[in-house]
Symmetry: C2
Subunit: 633 residues, 2 copies
Amino acid sequence: MLFRETRGYHRRWPQKGAMRTSIATVCLSGTLDQKLVAAHEAGFDGVEVFEPDLVASPRSPEAIRARAEQLGLSLDLYQPFRDFEGVGPELLEQNLRRAAAKFALMNRLGIATMLLCSNVATARSGDEQLAAVQLRQLGDVADRFGVRIAYEALAWGRFVDSYEAAARIVRLADHPRVGLCLDSFHILSKGHDPEAIETIPADSIFFVQMADAPLLSMDVLSWSRHHRLFPGEGGFDLGTFMAHLVRTGYDGPVSLEVFNDTFRQVDPLATAVEARRSLRWLEHVTALSLGSAAGGGAARMSTASLPAVAPPADVNYVELRTGELQELRRLLMQLGFRSHGEHRTKRVELWSHGAARVVIGAPDSEHVQPTVAGIGLSVRDPATALRRAKDLFASEVPRDERPGEEPLLGVRAPDGSEVFFGAEGATEPRWVSEFGIPGHDDPHLIERVDHVNLAQPWQRFDAAVLFFHSVLDLGAEASIDVAAPVGLVRSQVLRSADGILRIALNLVPSGASDDAILPQHIAFASSDVIALARGARERGFEPLDIPGNYYDDVEARYQLEPGLMEELRELNVMYDRDEDGEFLHFYTHPIGTVFLEVVERRGGYAGYGALNAPVRLAAQYEHRRVASQGAPA
Amino acid sequence: MLFRETRGYHRRWPQKGAMRTSIATVCLSGTLDQKLVAAHEAGFDGVEVFEPDLVASPRSPEAIRARAEQLGLSLDLYQPFRDFEGVGPELLEQNLRRAAAKFALMNRLGIATMLLCSNVATARSGDEQLAAVQLRQLGDVADRFGVRIAYEALAWGRFVDSYEAAARIVRLADHPRVGLCLDSFHILSKGHDPEAIETIPADSIFFVQMADAPLLSMDVLSWSRHHRLFPGEGGFDLGTFMAHLVRTGYDGPVSLEVFNDTFRQVDPLATAVEARRSLRWLEHVTALSLGSAAGGGAARMSTASLPAVAPPADVNYVELRTGELQELRRLLMQLGFRSHGEHRTKRVELWSHGAARVVIGAPDSEHVQPTVAGIGLSVRDPATALRRAKDLFASEVPRDERPGEEPLLGVRAPDGSEVFFGAEGATEPRWVSEFGIPGHDDPHLIERVDHVNLAQPWQRFDAAVLFFHSVLDLGAEASIDVAAPVGLVRSQVLRSADGILRIALNLVPSGASDDAILPQHIAFASSDVIALARGARERGFEPLDIPGNYYDDVEARYQLEPGLMEELRELNVMYDRDEDGEFLHFYTHPIGTVFLEVVERRGGYAGYGALNAPVRLAAQYEHRRVASQGAPA
């Protein structure tokens, strides 16, 4: 189930984008051959061949070249070659010999460009003139083999650690076979301003490598080797970076070089599709950054923006699948939801309260996992939203619609859940009438869906961030760690600017066993959570039991008025407060791996009660422990 | 199988050590109740109650107190309370009220000491006089409740970030209820010299927290929150730290406060035993650091050293368990091993070549996993070696010995594998005669076991480092990351000073699927690996196939003489070189999850061919892929 997004996936995009796309083999797991196939399937134009992948391959260089040709992939770069320049005469001699051997190998592979990283180990001098002279000598050797050198400043280079220094050396070398490789990580990780890229002549930029990264504070080498991300998954401003590059007139490959411990472990095709999506998104933000006034290469790029989508007007519905439907029905009823009965043709039911709609059904072959099986969104123009998603390589979900039923257009998220687009407009969506029982207009205490919490397997967390960020144009908030009784849960919220759509992604610890509660739920927004909780109790609702110690702590922390404090305790409602307002919320017991929450935001409170999350997780853990002990042996 | 070390584990150590031991509940996973039970089972004297664990507990403070009493645990510390000092008058008022609520809670819990961390957020002034005055006010409140305050400088404190500053403030506060908490992490992570601890009066040191950590270069907050380790698992010199402390006369609790993402996820009893072992080891290194000339508290500590063990004279044998015994026998025969037949009473066989002995058998209920089921060591005094291991809370492995059989004393490592101690002395151990076929003294090309590679589940990697470091007194080398086709493998070698015993621990990536090769093997030391490989080939041996690209790379890299180069290629022997010498080695195909290696060290080469490891891992992956494709569908 993990990789449903790519299940039965075939290359379906013959069109070439505005960029020539490439990916380093080090981004993908498996053998070199498996990597080439994955890059091909995901529609890349070319690959960078990482030396260890070649060395470990049982295929000869000629066979690798033939395989790439057969797959329609160009071999764009050979890497890495290191520790060349700034050395003494004897080592230089050795290095030139070593390079000649690699150039000969590149001839056999049919690769025209070699990456040369700035010296991190053997350089004895930072004299740029000396480095330039030595690079010129290397250029002469390269000339004999008809290849060229792309010189790149590593962030931890011994002497050369900025692209501006590398550019000066290349200018001094003044050799047609010697140019630059620019890598966004090495530039942005050091906080260097990429603006001066515009001063570099396009014909001396031989190659460009793109990587995003979370904004960490750690040594740059470990950060680079373990935590890089694909564009759109981290914190770097890559649209601006690319805009500077495009303004030079550069039109060579834009390649992904992403060292990441997770990507090294997971299905290479899933990673390749995620990678290809990230470059499509990068084209888009580059086009936005360039604006409409651009000319030349910039004009080409400016056509690359994605179809614009307005933020969703509302969450149309959330779909839950569970084997314990009866239990779920009872909970919804207790929370004041009313049933609309079964769908005319599909085996699902609709329940609503205010504008919060929950579609429920038993698991089937198409909806096995996750338990939150789908989210429906009301958008201005469903067809455009779908076009944008497909433009970002999302798989469309086939849907069987009968005449007279409202068309819903859907795509599959990386974790296999579905996102459907329906037309906004009427107070009640048209598809509601496809269920047996018409709309209710009783007074209601729940207004709408406040947020949806999706548990993500560790393999697909970053991919999910990119998916929701790029497909739905949601902004990513900073992630936080929440201590569960078993393991830390990383949580990151993606939300529309107006806060109408909020999706919290939770990273389940890689070692999570069945003891861990998957933090997957729907939170409903209420205008009066106390009144709702009281009414629910009258209908037999038993909320998740929150410990008295928690309320003692709230009392010590906030000095609330005794009446409210009493109500919170009595109804198991939790409390949080920040400068902007207050947050009251309560939880249902988990049904299998899903549960429900009701929240009330007072004032401008925009959080999610993060301080309360560990208490809630512990209460769920305790509930489950007691339940399993109570069960017959 | 993962936690076999603690299977059927019962508290067996009524004796109290030289230190009063304590552990923070945050080190262990589960509910507060589960944590208390684990701390009790592992023989701790007390626990620190971490506030979120209390807040999330469904038990009342009184019930928690009663439970701890019932388990014979003292509740030593309540934490954390933060952001108290250096604030303006209004906030001070609030903070004093908040503290009074916590003191009242501590009275209910029966906890006498509260940890107060230096202000990281709300302090407006770094004036130490002001902080001291405010702490004195807090001391007055504490006095009303009969409790005391242990003030600790956090490494990222806003103004107070060193223990010396904290000590100055406590001295200025001059209040019997106000003292210090010293935390090894906050002191050593900043590179502060712990020597000045000796200038602090013992009666103002209220509490001590110990944590080790790997020597990382990252922001200290993340380092502290995610990567702390138990003493003996990381890179801090904690023996020296403790010696300074003991010289003050301090005799309060020594408590473990270790925030670690792994420990948060795994079985709390396994973690608690590991934690208790780390404190026993800490007593030992503290005693060593104090030397024999110590008086007072130091005298008490100096009795705490573990039984001294000399480095093992040799690897006595390695025991392999596999369902594919026939295949393993053929491999051993091809490598020139000779069978000694079956054991007189046990269902295992012995094979030897030179002094390398391999005991093989089919899996049984006691030896299911891992495939390298045990290591036998020749030691000067097996009884003392066992006593040391048991003193470090290792479980003894019961062994059924018949009259006349050599007694072997064994303990279980954290991954469930066994370590047995036999007497050194004779060229051939006496137990060899318990097998059917007597010794061989043919000429041999294999000398002995060079090293053993044990795959460790991610849950037990740090525990395994501590186990081998403390029980066998092995030194830990720096760990390296090796890129496998699927995931990075972290590898760390533990070795005796003379290099006779080398155990490489490999951390299998948490997401490793069946596709990943578990890097578990025995390497034999040969005097002539080329001759051995040639002889093996004549006996039908097919080595692991190493790609031609690898040899092209070796050729470009080292310019070896053509004859040797030809032999390496022909025999699939790999090559490495460093300043001290050369390394030639080859591998067998994996049998299930185990394989064999033969190595030749020329000159002083002390490594393991790390550069070749990714190529070997890829070749094994390829071998397995091809084998599984060739199998009938």
